[in-house]
């Protein structure tokens, strides 16, 4: 389980404000991080990955303390081993597919990771020598997932991974992620502002409203809340 509780000042369109999040993420769940633009969804990811330091916060993964601001504990990004996948340009453009995956393999895992097998699993065999600009948006995201698997990431953070994709590719990627989550028992967190991503994919949701959230809710409860909101409209 990943436990997070933090407060961080952010700049939004309405000026300086603070984001406050407290949540427990399950190990084998796909959790959607939902909220309007500017709510601080990406800030949450950056805090989890160790790229942003909050003014106040605690962060535990399994039994390990990643962050405890009061006791001045802050595990470096390099040691947190999170797989971070962005909306676009997730891969390094000067590396081929194979080189992108090779770059992610930690020295201690070198003998365990089989690149051909990984590419086969993400249905990208024969693409080893292609560069990212020679791939479609969906293929780039699949390679980014393969890279996270090669990295043996404990948590996969996907920041708006579907927003640049068309519907058909998006749906293929949905099934692909579901299969992988099951196979590798991964903790996957997906930032999105599209409720369809959540309906198709997620087991639970962290809804950030007015820069605050006090925990995840099951997908059914989220659906009910959305329906109520739509009825009010």
């Amino acid at each position: 389980m990943l436990h997070i509780n933090f407060k961080k000042q952010i700049k939004s369109v309405s000026g300086e404000t603070s984001i406050e999040v407290e949540a427990n993420f399950k190990n084998t769940a796909i959790t959607g991080i939902y909220g309007n633009s500017g709510e601080g969804k990406s800030t949450l990811f950056n805090v989890i990955a160790g790229l942003n330091l909050p003014e106040y916060g605690t962060l535990y993964y399994k039994d390990l303390i990643w962050l405890d601001t009061e006791n001045k504990i802050n595990l470096s990004t390099q040691k947190r081993n999170t797989g971070y996948i962005f909306q676009t340009n997730s891969l390094f453009p000067h590396f081929t597919v194979k080189e992108n995956i090779l770059y992610a393999i930690q020295k201690e895992n070198q003998d365990e990771v089989n690149i051909s097998e990984l590419l086969n699993q993400v249905d990208m065999m024969g693409m080893e020598d292609r560069y990212p600009h020679q791939l479609s948006g969906g293929q780039v995201q699949r390679i980014a997932i393969a890279r996270a698997l090669a990295q043996k990431a404990q948590i996969i953070l996907m920041d708006e991974p579907f927003s640049a994709l068309d519907l058909e590719i998006k749906q293929k990627l949905y099934s692909f992620i579901k299969v992988f989550k099951k196979k590798y028992n991964l903790m996957i967190l997906i930032v999105t502002h599209d409720i369809n991503d959540i309906f198709y994919l997620c087991d639970e949701v962290l809804w950030i409203k007015n820069h605050k959230s006090t925990g995840t809710i099951p997908i059914n409860q989220f659906k009910e809340e959305i329906e109520l909101k739509l009825r009010d409209l």
């Binding site: 990955a49 962005f86 390094f92 453009p93 890279r147």
Partner: protein, 223 residues
Amino acid sequence: MPDLTPIFLSLKLALLTSFVLLVIGLPIAYGLSIWKSKAKIFVESLVSLPIILPPTVIGFYLLIIFSPENLIGETLENLGIHIPFTFSGILIASLIYSFPFMVQPLQKAFEQIPQHYWNVSYTLGKSKFETLVKIVLPNMKYAILTGFILTFAHTMGEFGVILMIGGNIPGVTKVASLAIYSDLEALNYSAAHFYSLILLTISIVIIFLVNLLNKDKKVDASY
């Protein structure tokens, strides 16, 4: 056939200036790209100053700084280092004169590298230095080449600053641009033509290379 020494001296000076500026320009450009301070604009203006400052002014002040009558010049003289009217003197002048031609394209390139290239690399367990060497620098290779070529070209064409700090000493500081001037004064037109033609050819090749690089860069940026 005219003496080729001025051409070789120009090439030696241009290559050395470009290499040295690349080495010192990279950390300075990186520092400027991440520096957030109100004082940044003053430092950036200082970096750009040689673009508009008359070369003779740079040469004049360098002569004063390195004069044995002043502290720096006197200290260097005591250590047995003589700067004015030597190859080291014109190298120092070239480093100052061509500084913005290397630093500006590098700084712009550092600023254009998406932050998430750094971030993804960190999450993959890589250090800042490894990220810089394996991810950031290869993705700014066009800027590095452009900076190198522009610095090289600018140094090849230097005249005023070299004349001031280096004089016009054959085999020591008499570079191609000074040789053209000397031969013209001596009415030795064939030699002046010879040196001019070589510099013209080098300039055409350099402009062609820079345009070619910029064209390739547009293709690469499409991903």
